[in-house]
């Protein structure tokens, strides 16, 4: 159901969408049942002159079964939900599949910096590639990320991947994703981080092997045009005067344009 609203573009986004569907079916059933009973009773048992209400204490077994049996069914379905959830969760958050690439993601007020470990797969070496607000990755390859924050708490969020993870100052948090569709998508900051939280975005571009290599060459020889900026430039159908005159925005864009 989620995929109806937003593209599903990572190896685990399908699992999350399916979990959503399973839970929807279960709670949808309960919702219709309980809501139906509420509406039906309200309509059926309207006051009529001369008719007295029934006297039901709800303490005899013959009566309590009406709330107890549904109640046992709730417990059974809770078990299903918990089990389904743990399977998906363990896969996403408790296991790190073998990596093809390593990146470092750093949140700061109010921009994202990305360091790709490059071909040697080791961070802080000469072949690292650094970009701001613009992340380039290859399709169908597993990425490990090391998430950090320089000042306050941020949250690295890529909705099409169904990925959100807080970035805490003073810690490095590890995680992974594996893109399955090419294209350019939003990166958000999904934790309140101050004045510029509302502009703290970025772009992630998922490349095929060829276009990835091309982009890296452009980045290295300085002919590169930020995808984030391109997206911001072309897709802004909403009217706004605050954002264009607002100082912090141009700061982020300025940073992005350096690379």
């Amino acid at each position: 159901m989620i995929e109806y609203f937003i593209l599903s573009a990572s190896s685990f986004s399908g699992d999350i969408d399916n979990l959503f569907l399973v839970i929807t079916l279960i709670i949808g059933f309960w919702f219709i049942l309980v809501f139906g009973a509420l509406v039906y009773f309200t309509l059926k048992f309207r006051r009529k002159d001369g008719v007295k209400a029934e006297y039901i204490t709800g303490e005899k077994h013959s009566e309590t079964k009406w709330t107890h049996y549904p109640h046992y069914a709730v417990i059974a379905m809770d078990v299903v939900i918990i089990a389904a959830n743990i399977i998906v969760w363990v896969n996403i958050k408790q296991t790190l599949p073998p990596k093809d690439n390593l990146i470092r993601v750093i949140g700061q007020q109010w921009s994202w910096s990305f360091v790709d470990a490059g071909p040697d797969g080791v961070l802080d070496t000469a072949d690292d590639i650094t970009t701001v607000n613009d992340l380039h990755v290859k399709v169908d390859e597993t990425y490990h990320f090391e998430l950090q924050a320089r000042d306050v708490i941020h949250n690295f969020s890529v909705p099409v991947f169904r990925l959100r993870q807080d970035a805490l100052p003073g810690r490095t948090i590890k995680g992974w994703f594996k893109p399955t569709n090419t294209g350019s998508f939003d990166i958000q900051c999904a934790e309140m981080c101050g004045y510029g939280h509302g502009i703290m975005g970025g772009a992630i571009t998922v490349h095929t092997k060829e276009s990835y290599d091309e982009t890296i060459v452009q980045i290295k020889n300085g002919t590169y045009e930020s995808h984030y900026q391109k997206r911001m430039g072309t897709k802004t159908p909403l009217p706004s005067n605050t954002s264009h005159t607002e100082g912090h925005n141009s700061f982020a864009v300025l940073l992005a344009s350096i690379f």
């Binding site: 989620i2 609203f5 937003i6 699992d15 999350i16 709670i27 309980v34 809501f35 009973a37 509420l38 009773f41 048992f45 006051r47 007295k52 209400a53 029934e54 039901i56 709800g58 303490e59 009566e63 709330t67 109640h71 709730v74 939900i81 918990i82 389904a84 959830n85 743990i86 998906v88 969760w89 996403i92 958050k93 408790q94 007020q109 000042d151 708490i153 949250n155 909705p159 959100r164 993870q165 805490l168 100052p169 003073g170 810690r171 958000q188 999904a190 934790e191 309140m192 101050g194 004045y195 509302g198 997206r231 911001m232 802004t236 159908p237 009217p239 706004s240 005067n241 605050t242 954002s243």
Partner: protein, 569 residues
């Protein structure tokens, strides 16, 4: 203990019930009914401020960058401040004072049949501190740098370092206001529990206490047991802000996650603190208007205890992806999903109460039933968020936002209107207009759903919270999504306009409404056995209780109700 309480009580008796001048009656009252009104009116004024903030930032979302009529330009800093203080106000200065302090104060002594709270002076002090806390909060909007904008959860280091939040004194006054409010409710809470346990009318056994009183008492116990760690946290936060300690600052050896744990250890029970009073009020209203005994009184009571107990072991479901050990999440998933068990049982009991009833859809009943319907949506959508793997996608999205407004709006706003329309005759001695009441009901309930149902879909589409202008996120800047935002905002404006109907009805009925009889709804609980409004001291002669609160349509009786204080023939 009971001796001491009795001594205190007689102490009050002597000085308490003679005629008082205006100052002592309305400004410095000891009478629980007047203190209750002070809380309720203060809460309603704060609700207007909180609603006005919602209006301002929703207008900005629908028409980004345009001047908001009646507010002005909402820039990024302003937006954060509005959202933060909207949330803070609605929870701490509306839900808490109106439902717990206001109706708790009004109902506890009347429903248990005593003449006042056990500690009237503490009661007065509690309101005065509360008032100061509200003024401190309002002051914080006007200091240099403006009000605090770091979200109502106030995560450090953003909230603790002025260079990060850019609202130096705004942040400190915010913390101070919240801490003062907690102190006020701690004082009030002691009073509530003591009164309900020690001052009950002769004959009222534990299982004869109306559910509304029980639930308010459980709520304040939850509050008192959970708030301690957060008061400590607030003091540490204040010290980080003002004297440069580093409790929450990693560069000084502190840890921001510590605050998250302290905050949510309180924050989760807090949602049940505000939920329970409304659930109790709703239980009383549906029994009266369906002329039915509450289905399974004891079961309902025990489910409330179970919910309250469980609410202490679920807090980390707010932190699934906050950087805690992922293995820990599994435990909190189990406890969180388990909460559905007592709450579902309670919901089933409420609905079973309607079965075989003789239902009259008076305004308070409409509010009570709509509470059940809306809270049902809030409750079932909570299951999604209790599943940690879905939280990986939904954390800080509009899905969360829509979910918790489907719990908080019914609790706070619907609950408040249910209680006000139901007890209005008792409080002011006059009836409210039914037709206007129903217009106001539909004019609130329908737009409420039009505001918040669409927000679930924005959440599914990936929209994250606390963003003043979505045009910075091309995937969210599409016209379809913008149309949804506009629809929600227009619905809000419609809903706000309908509140004028209530204001008119409320004040005109207060002075010109039809005179209310003592027991207009033919209800059983003790507050209906005294005059409307009750005199100073509540009862001419303190009542004796013979039975539980829910003897409606008892077989073998002519009348379909049997007040608690009527002696058996």
């Amino acid at each position: 203990m009971s001796q001491a309480a009795a001594a205190v009580e007689t102490g009050i008796h002597a000085e308490h019930h003679e005629d008082l001048n205006f100052l002592h009656k309305y400004i410095l009252p000891l009478d629980h009914k007047i203190i209750a009104m002070q809380y309720i009116f203060t809460g309603m004024i704060m609700a207007i401020i909180g609603g006005y903030f919602a209006y301002a930032f929703r207008m900005q979302l629908a028409f980004p960058g345009e001047l908001v009529p009646g507010y002005g330009l909402v820039g990024p800093g302003e937006y954060n401040m509005l959202v933060t203080n909207h949330g803070t106000i609605m929870i701490f200065w509306v839900a808490m004072p109106v439902l717990i302090a206001g109706f708790g104060n009004y109902l506890i002594p009347l429903m248990i049949g005593c003449d006042d709270m056990v500690f009237p002076r503490i009661n007065r002090l509690s309101y005065q501190i509360f008032l100061v806390s509200a003024l401190v909060l309002i002051l914080s909007f006007f200091v240099k740098g403006g009000g605090f904008g770091g979200a109502w959860t106030a995560y450090p280091p953003l909230s603790s370092v002025a260079e990060y939040n850019l609202t130096d004194w705004g942040s400190s006054l915010w913390v101070l206001a919240v801490a003062l409010e907690f102190i006020s409710f701690l004082l009030g809470g002691i009073n509530f529990v003591t009164t309900a346990m020690n001052a009950r009318a002769p004959g009222m056994k534990m299982m004869d206490i109306p559910i509304a009183v029980w639930f308010i008492v459980i709520a304040v116990i939850l509050f008192m047991a959970s708030v301690g760690p957060l008061i400590a946290g607030a003091v540490m936060l204040f010290m980080d802000q003002r004297i440069g300690t580093t409790f929450f600052l990693p560069s000084g050896g502190g840890d921001p996650l510590l605050w998250e744990h302290l905050f949510w250890f309180f924050g989760h029970p807090e949602v049940y603190v505000v939920l329970l009073p409304t659930l109790g009020i709703v239980a009383d209203i549906i029994t009266v208007f369906s002329r039915k005994k509450l289905f399974g009184y004891k079961t309902v009571l025990y489910t409330a205890f179970a919910t309250g107990g469980l609410s202490f072991v679920v807090w980390a479901h707010h932190q699934f992806i906050a950087g805690i050990d992922p293995r820990m999440a599994n435990i909190f998933v189990v406890t969180t999903v388990l909460i559905s068990i007592p709450l579902a049982e309670m919901m089933f009991s409420y609905i079973a109460t309607l079965y075989g009833g003789s239902i009259e859809l008076k305004t308070p009943m409409l509010w009570a039933l709509s509470f059940l319907a809306a809270f049902l949506i809030g409750g079932v959508t909570g299951i999604y968020l209790g599943a940690s793997a879905l939280d990986v996608y939904f954390h800080d999205s509009y899905f969360v936002l829509a979910h918790f407004h489907y719990t908080f709006f019914p609790i706070t706003i619907i609950g408040m209107f249910a209680a006000l329309t139901f007890w209005f005759p008792k409080m002011f001695g006059r009836m409210m207009n039914e037709t206007l009441g129903k217009i106001h009901f539909w004019g609130t309930f329908i737009p409420f759903n039009c505001i918040f149902l669409p927000l679930f879909f924005l959440g599914l589409a990936g929209q994250h919270r606390r963003i003043y202008n979505y045009q910075h996120f091309p995937d969210l800047a599409t016209q379809e999504l913008q149309n949804i935002r506009i629809f929600a905002t227009v619905s809000l404006v419609v809903m706000l306009l309908f509140q004028l109907v209530f204001v008119y009805n409320f004040f005109v009925s207060m002075f010109k409404g039809e005179k209310a009889p003592d027991n207009p709804w033919r209800a059983n609980t003790l507050e209906w056995s005294t005059s409307s409004p009750p005199p100073h001291g509540n009862f001419k002669k303190l009542p004796t209780v013979y039975r539980g609160a829910y003897e409606y349509s008892t077989p073998g009786r002519e009348e379909d109700f049997w007040p608690q204080n009527v002696a058996p023939e």
